[in-house]
């Protein structure tokens, strides 16, 4: 792709190449699902064009409804169909009716939640008169399918990506090298840290199926906190790097989230493209914080509950979102009352608050990772009561890997809290950057990776 993109071809040809590559990339998982991309592309293209020229409010609403129904309909059918069916069965069972439908057996198209939200942003921007529709179908189709971030984000806004397709872009040498460096960092996070160092402990603990020793429960949860970050941030960093080698800029998706002080800070650092999407297209349209305190708390909770459900069709994800909604609400309440005290700005207190935030975030990860509520409650119970009667499942090697990795990760996040990676690299001698870069490359290769897909592909 790099060779084609740097060949002496017209910009339209290069964009066509990128579009074809994006479809091939998506088809590599399951070719028929490319049709979903086409459907989403065609519907939102036409809806946005009509929305832009239509002045009658009711017709505009109807057009938006078409876009929302098609996009959320696809998402609902493929992602939430089984979930809705199970809940329907449980509901009618309460009324004494036994309903046994045929097996659902629907395969979830990879990354459907990501590109659905990305295309919906386009129609919503035009509906809300925030932006004009694209004038080029090729550019719009490429916006929907741009392969670096298609299946697991960052969820890029049309206002960020479409203008980049307007003029010819080829990476400068510095962009190319930095893109390759980011790809190395991203793959290192995924292959070495997430899959190699942390996944074994997390898998052992969450798959144990029995009450565990508190050390195991805590280490498994901590391991998952590192795994989910390294896995997801690893993909985002790789995607950003790939786009950069082609000359395109994608926004940050993570900013050292485990150094967050408080939960609103966490959401400014974790999955930024989703949290800002939810803020702009859900929280603010719901009224945000403009309609009084009670409504603000309700809006926060609604946004986070739906954010939880976005991740997966399960009540455990809803609880995960609900806990974050609760945390944000409590934080808001506390900030209004004691937030201005000078003590909060001292370094020891900042570190304490960051650790407290990390502690509460870990509680939410239990629900995120646990296959069911029984497992989640069992782990939470052990983690909070420190009851030592449970089974030990983690051998010394997994304990060592988890403790060392999480300690290093927290130290790195805290050190980098107010810094940018490019600034740090600029201050480090070139040979040292090269040494670290080369070592990371070597470790990626010798880890050999398995066939573990990125966790967020399932969302």
């Amino acid at each position: 792709m790099l060779a084609l993109h740097n060949a002496p071809l017209s910009w339209t040809t290069k964009k066509t190449n990128l579009l074809i590559a994006s479809y091939l990339f998506y088809a590599a998982w399951n070719p028929p699902f490319v049709i979903l991309l086409w459907l989403s592309t065609v519907v939102d293209w036409h809806v946005a064009k009509r929305l832009f020229t239509e002045e009658v409010k009711s017709k505009r609403r109807m057009l938006l409804a078409i876009s929302v129904i098609v996009n959320l309909g696809l998402l609902g059918y493929f992602k939430y169909g089984q979930f809705l069916l199970e809940n329907f069965i449980a509901l009618v069972a309460l009324a004494g009716i036994t309903y046994q439908p045929p097996d659902w057996n629907i395969v979830l198209p990879v990354g459907i939640s990501f590109y659905t939200f990305q295309t919906m942003a386009y129609s919503l921007d035009v509906y809300l008169r925030r932006a004009e529709p694209s004038k080029s179908f090729l550019d719009f189709a490429l916006f929907v399918t741009f392969f670096p971030q298609l299946v697991a984000g960052p969820i890029v806004r049309p206002t960020h990506l479409l203008p980049q397709f307007a003029v010819a872009r080829v990476a400068t040498p510095q962009q190319l090298y930095w893109g390759l460096a980011l790809m190395t960092i991203g793959l290192f996070q995924k292959v070495v840290v997430a899959d190699g160092l942390l996944a074994p402990a997390a898998d052992a603990v969450f798959g144990a199926g029995e009450t565990l020793h508190p050390l195991d429960a805590w280490l498994g949860t901590l391991a998952f906190s590192g795994q989910i970050f390294s896995d997801f941030a690893g993909y985002s960093t790789t995607a950003i790097g790939v786009a950069l080698t082609l000359g395109f800029g994608l926004p940050d998706n993570f900013r050292f989230p485990y150094a967050a002080i408080g939960f609103s800070d966490f959401w400014r650092r974790w999955h930024i493209s989703l949290s800002s999407w939810l803020r702009d297209y859900l929280y603010i349209p719901l009224g945000g914080n403009r309609k009084g305190n009670l409504r603000t708390y309700a809006n926060l909770m609604t946004t986070m509950l739906l954010g939880g459900l976005w991740h997966g069709a399960s009540w455990t994800f809803v609880v995960w979102g609900g806990l974050h909604g609760l945390y944000l609400g409590v934080e808001r309440w506390l900030k209004a009352r004691v937030g201005k005290l000078a003590i909060w700005t001292t370094l020891p207190m900042q570190i304490l608050l960051a650790l407290l935030t990390y502690f509460f975030i870990n509680i939410t990860w239990v629900f995120f990772r646990a296959p069911d509520f029984a497992t989640a409650w069992r782990l939470i119970d052990t983690m909070l009561t420190f009851e030592t009667a449970g089974e030990k499942v983690l051998p010394t090697v997994f304990i060592t890997q988890t403790v060392v990795t999480i300690a290093v990760m927290l130290a790195v996040h805290w050190t980098m809290r107010e810094r940018r990676l490019d600034d740090v690299v600029a201050r480090v001698p070139g040979w040292l950057t090269g040494l670290i870069w080369g070592a990371m490359l070597m470790l990626i290769v010798i880890t050999q990776g398995g066939s573990d897909a990125f966790i967020y592909f399932q969302f």
């Binding site: 590599a28 998982w29 386009y122 008169r129 925030r130 932006a131 004009e132 529709p133 694209s134 004038k135 080029s136 550019d139 719009f140 206002t159 960020h160 479409l162 203008p163 980049q164 307007a166 003029v167 872009r169 040498p173 510095q174 962009q175 090298y177 930095w178 460096a181 190395t184 070495v192 190699g196 160092l197 074994p200 950003i240 950069l244 395109f248 800029g249 030990k392 499942v393 983690l394 051998p395 010394t396 090697v397 304990i399 490019d422 600034d423 690299v425 070139g430 950057t433 090269g434 040494l435 870069w437 080369g438 070592a439 490359l441 070597m442 290769v445 010798i446 880890t447 050999q448 066939s451």
Partner: protein
């Protein structure tokens, strides 16, 4: 209203969307990185070669799927070998080809009952050849499928898996370290870590064979020549063994029920295969040491093998019944050394031909009476 969604604006400010870059040229760092990575990889490769490892194809799910697909693509009349690791290690394709003039398709999977594959071949209209079924008692009559994913990949291989397999195979014959056994975290896990009280861990099976392009497996010379490595391999086989006397009645009842199900599966699949003209030959390869104790304990011949052969009516060759199948060197009790496997394959091939002929003669005699 901003018009930034419009992609036809001629004066887009490129810098607005560009990412911040390090304010230090990265060209030199890139060159250093390539040199460092290449040097470290060469050192890593040399380390494993000095340990005795030579490049070999990986025993991957994708490679198995490729071999299985040969039946779909015009080789349905071939001799196909299924079973577990003993069928994989002990049946040498080169020797079989030399003796018979045809090269079999090797579909045996270590740690895995062949029954799912057998059922699949029974339902596959493309398959009309001969089926050699290795029977490792614990796996066959227990139904365990350690490598089920290989079969699943054949059934549902995505284009990315297909492509990944082919890219991987470009590197596999050249790099010794590119092996499941020498992945960084596998190596780390296998170091002598202090044991944690109360934690039960099973030892991983170590590398035992080198694999060819069509899954022809030959025992790795280190297993044959390094006494320490050989002892480790034996220790792993015996690790975690529980005598049947220590099993409770419920466990035993479930195991017996499960055994019956596996035999029923084999009987049904054999019937289907024979109905479409496929000849099925069950082979019980030799084993010794720990297995001479554990296998008869959990799966007595009279209750398993003999029942299987009687109920399927297929040709069955048990190593205890034929001199040609006895007297081979099994360095780690379960599999034959490479040269012994050559000798065994030659003997097995001729034994099969002879027994087939005898069985055919018996059938003819019965029909004429």
């Amino acid at each position: 209203m901003p018009s930034s969604t419009s992609s036809s604006e001629p004066n887009v400010q490129r810098s607005k969307y560009d990412r911040a870059l390090p304010k230090r040229p990265l060209g030199r760092a890139f060159v250093v990185a390539v040199i460092v990575a290449a040097s470290l990889l060469v050192a890593w490769e040399m380390h494993w070669r000095s340990f005795g490892v030579m490049p070999s194809y990986r025993n991957s799910n994708g490679l198995w799927a490729m071999e299985r697909r040969r039946i779909d693509r015009g080789e349905g009349d071939a001799t196909v070998i299924i079973g577990s690791s003993r069928a994989l290690f002990n049946t040498q394709l080169d020797v079989w080809e030399r003796e018979s003039g045809e090269r079999p398709i090797q579909l045996a999977l270590e740690g895995t009952t062949p029954l799912s594959i057998m059922e699949d071949l029974a339902d596959d209209p493309d398959f009309s050849g001969t089926l050699i079924v290795g029977v490792a008692p614990g796996l066959f009559f227990g139904g365990f499928e350690y490598r089920r994913k290989a079969f699943d990949q054949y059934l549902n291989e995505s284009p990315s898996q297909w492509l990944g397999q082919r890219i991987s195979m470009l590197a596999e014959p050249w790099l010794a370290f590119y092996s499941y056994d020498y992945g960084l975290f596998t190596v780390i896990k296998r170091q002598p870590w202090p044991e944690r009280a109360g934690v039960e861990t099973e030892m991983d099976v170590r590398k035992l064979v080198n694999l060819g392009r069509d899954r022809n497996a030959r025992m790795w010379s280190k297993v044959e020549t390094d006494p320490e490595y050989q002892a480790l391999a034996r220790k792993i086989w015996a690790d975690g063994f529980i005598p049947i006397e220590e099993r409770d009645a419920e466990w035993i009842a479930n195991a017996l029920d499960n055994r019956r199900k596996q035999i029923d599966r084999a009987v049904a699949a054999t019937r289907k295969l024979r109905e479409k003209g496929v000849e099925v030959v069950f082979v019980r390869n030799p084993a010794e040491g720990h297995y001479a104790v554990s296998e008869p304990m959990y799966n007595p011949r009279q209750e398993t093998w003999d029942v299987l052969i009687e109920e399927t009516g297929a040709l069955g060759l048990h190593w205890q019944d034929h001199e040609e199948m006895q007297g081979y060197w099994l360095p780690e009790w379960s599999h034959m050394s490479a040269s012994e496997a050559d000798r065994y394959t030659e003997a097995l091939y001729h034994l099969i031909q002879r027994e087939r002929a005898a069985q055919a003669a018996d059938s003819t005699a019965e029909a004429s009476q």
